[in-house]
């Protein structure tokens, strides 16, 4: 579904997957925010499940990614503003925010900026600060396709992700690699890899945002994650008083164990709102 979003870069057309159903903004809303070098398609199983179980679902392609046209935005803060503008465009007053990796920082910042609009915060494959090595940033500047391969190899912890994502027969390493390559190639005037990873690396407002978050928060971490190591999420978990769920996956939690992630997100969304996290 296409939306006209008044974001930080001006009005632009944005695409958001709505879970295979027409968006009904009167239903409890849940928003899935993808990470660096991804698009909405990393969320489609979860998004379909929630859309067919009583929720209004938005899984946007962030600006400059996939079907959302325009240049990529260059800070977590700017993308968080854009995300809130997307909610306005979709007629969604409040929502549960689920973000992965870079998307988790965007969800956190949005929850800090508009705490009254965010009723649940679920951060998947996250860490704070989300520091990126100088070597990877340098590789991303010099040879972004090599950098994509490097990140891809580290992101998926198994050679046999079962039952695979979005269905049997998908080679997770291949699908993730070609998605990132396509997104990179689609940006003729920007180095998307470098932009996205700098967005992660430069974000400094995490603890301040966490202090403003008022909703129950859950962190879903991959025990074998080599991109956002679980131990690097502990300060954030403490600041958010978050419930922490650890799954037997790498960084690609959505594709390596979609059923376990669904269970974790369902549980997080179903938690009573008055119950403080932790």
């Amino acid at each position: 579904m296409k939306f006209a979003v008044d974001g930080p870069g001006g009005r632009g057309e944005a695409y958001a997957y709505t879970g295979g159903k027409r968006l009904d903004a009167s239903l409890p809303a849940i928003v899935f925010v993808h990470g660096a070098m991804h698009d909405h398609s990393v969320w489609t199983l979860l998004a379909r499940w929630f859309a067919h179980h009583g929720h209004a679902v938005l899984a946007p392609d962030l600006p400059g990614h996939g079907q959302s046209i325009g240049k990529p935005l260059e800070s977590v803060e700017a993308i968080a503003d854009w995300l809130l503008a997307l909610l306005d465009a979709a007629g969604v007053d409040e929502a549960a925010l689920v973000g992965h990796s870079m998307g988790s920082l965007i969800a956190l910042e949005a929850a800090g900026r508009a705490p009254a609009r965010v009723e649940r915060l679920i951060m998947v494959g996250t860490a704070y600060p989300m520091a990126v090595s100088a070597a990877l940033l340098e590789m991303g500047e010099r040879d972004p396709f090599a950098a994509i391969d490097s990140v891809n190899a580290l992101s998926i912890s198994t050679l046999a992700g079962k039952p695979s994502y979005p269905g049997p027969g998908t080679w997770l390493h291949g699908a993730d690699r070609i998605l990132a390559r396509r997104l990179q190639m689609a940006q003729r005037d920007a180095n998307l890899f470098l932009t996205d990873f700098r967005v992660c690396d430069r974000y400094r407002g995490g603890l301040e945002a966490a202090a403003r978050v008022t909703c129950p928060t859950t962190l879903v971490l991959g025990a074998r994650d080599q991109m956002t190591w679980p131990k690097h999420a502990s300060a954030l978990a403490e600041a958010l008083r978050a419930r922490v769920v650890t799954l037997p996956t790498g960084h690609s939690v959505m594709s390596e164990d979609p059923d376990a992630l669904l269970a974790a997100v369902r549980s997080a969304v179903a938690a009573p709102p008055e119950t403080p996290a932790g």
């Binding site: 199983l45 391969d149 198994t158 050679l159 046999a160 979005p166 049997p168």
Partner: protein, 435 residues
């Protein structure tokens, strides 16, 4: 640099898609011979049917053993995923039927396996899908044959049986200039000799019956998607691929390109093609092909090594008029083969006997190690006379267009001791000369 996070070809051939069985600890991939899979609850069942969860429902659509094979072949090819099918022919049909229907058009190389030619020229035309055949190296002809209703370009990595080398980079560029995908039959080369996706192909398939299985035991196919073709962009510009980019009433009004940016083609191929055409692979077959793939790198190296010895022998024999192997400078695609196939040109090739049809027959009947049959890519050496078997439906003109003469003999070189193969050929050539 290969390592656990980024494994090399030989490692993927053994491990991709497979892990110790979580229920039993079995290290080898189990054969899941079951038609169907128990649902945990009604809600679980509904969510599987509605693609809200990933999992297996019914073995015509997917099966855990087949899924290991599918992931492994996709890994070896550098693809996003694949679908195991009942045969290579089923894979070709599935590839075409997923994006083409009545009124659609295909542009194909004229240097094709006879079965593929039959499907395109005779059978699919009965269902309203027409094909224009062009010489694989005639790029102007590829361009000229493309119509608004064309849905894909198609050729074989090594054309059967003349071993025309498909210039994949050039044909892929022609396809992409016209918002079309390039499909290739990669059976003769296997990913060990060439990965067509690295050269620009978008879709490929194997007759897994041949080198992937390698033992002449089972019939099977695998259709692989690179995930690279942008169906949305191509539809926006050409209006061609609404099968993948508009709601499909036959499956929950799903827009496949929205569900999966890189897997739209395979989603429809599985959710419609396997569901409705039903040309699925038996899990037992999948397991046997997996056994074959585990040794694919070792076997392909030996196939090529043996083939080179046989080619050298035949090229120097007085009873042989010609040998059509792209590693020979005499082959018209020699330079292209050097570029695209540096590891070798496989072990299937043809040669022309001097003499009459009778002498050709005498040659084949005198062979003892070479089996006279209609297959290639077996661990055993094979021989056939294309004009009277695989391509018998073609008239002489069509045969000539496919690069086949009435005296052409096709060999598939196996893994025997090469000296024994040379001895068998030497003796049969002597018999033919006296016939």
């Amino acid at each position: 640099m290969p390592g656990y996070a980024n494994p090399g070809f030989d490692t993927l051939a053994l491990h991709a898609g497979a892990a110790p069985d979580p229920a039993t600890g079995a290290r080898a991939t189990p054969i899941h011979l079951t038609t169907s899979f128990v649902f945990e609850s009604s809600e679980h069942a509904a969510s599987l049917f509605n693609m809200e969860r990933s999992g297996h429902v019914y073995s015509r659509i997917s099966n855990p053993t087949n899924a290991v094979l599918e992931e492994r072949v996709a890994a070896l090819e550098g693809g996003a995923g694949s679908i195991a099918t009942a045969s290579g022919q089923a894979a070709l049909h599935l590839a075409i039927a997923t994006i083409a229907g009545a009124g659609s058009h295909v542009v194909a190389s004229s240097a094709l396996y006879g079965g593929s030619h039959n499907l395109l020229h005779y059978t699919l035309s009965r269902f309203g899908i027409s094909t224009s055949f062009v010489k694989p190296g005639d790029f102007a002809a590829w361009r000229a044959a493309i119509r608004p209703e064309t849905k894909l370009l198609f050729g074989e990595t090594l054309g059967n049986p003349g071993l025309d080398v498909l210039d994949i980079p050039t044909v892929a560029a022609i396809a992409h200039e016209n918002d079309l995908p390039l499909l290739v039959d990669s059976t003769f080369t296997t990913p060990w000799l060439m990965k067509p996706f690295e050269h620009g192909a978008d879709l490929l398939y194997h007759s897994a019956t041949k080198f992937l299985s390698g033992h002449g035991t089972v019939i099977g196919g695998v259709l692989v998607d690179s995930g690279r073709f942008d169906w949305n962009a191509a539809t926006a510009r050409s209006g061609r691929f609404t099968e993948l980019t508009r709601p499909y009433e036959g499956f929950h009004d799903m827009v496949f390109s929205d569900e999966s940016t890189v897997g739209a083609f395979l989603l429809r191929a599985r959710r419609e093609g396997l569901r409705d055409f039903g040309a699925s692979m038996s899990p037992h077959t999948a397991w046997l092909i997996l056994q074959g793939i585990e040794t694919l790198p070792l076997r392909m190296a030996r196939h090529v090594e043996n083939a080179r010895k046989v080619v050298a022998f035949l090229a120097g024999h007085d009873g042989v008029a010609s040998v059509g192997y792209p590693e020979l400078e005499s082959h018209p695609d020699h330079a292209l083969a050097q570029r695209l196939l540096p590891r070798g040109c496989g072990s299937v090739f043809s040669f022309g006997l001097r003499g009459s049809r009778e002498q050709g027959r005498a040659f084949i009947e005198a062979l003892k190690l070479f089996s006279h049959l209609a297959n290639v890519g077996d661990c055993r050496s094979l021989v056939i006379h294309p004009a009277s078997t695989t391509h018998f439906r073609m008239d002489d003109a069509a045969l000539a267009r496919a690069g086949i003469g009435p005296g052409t003999i096709r060999l598939s070189i196996g893994l025997e001791d090469p000296d024994d193969l040379l001895d068998d050929l030497k003796r049969a050539l002597k018999v033919a000369a006296k016939a």
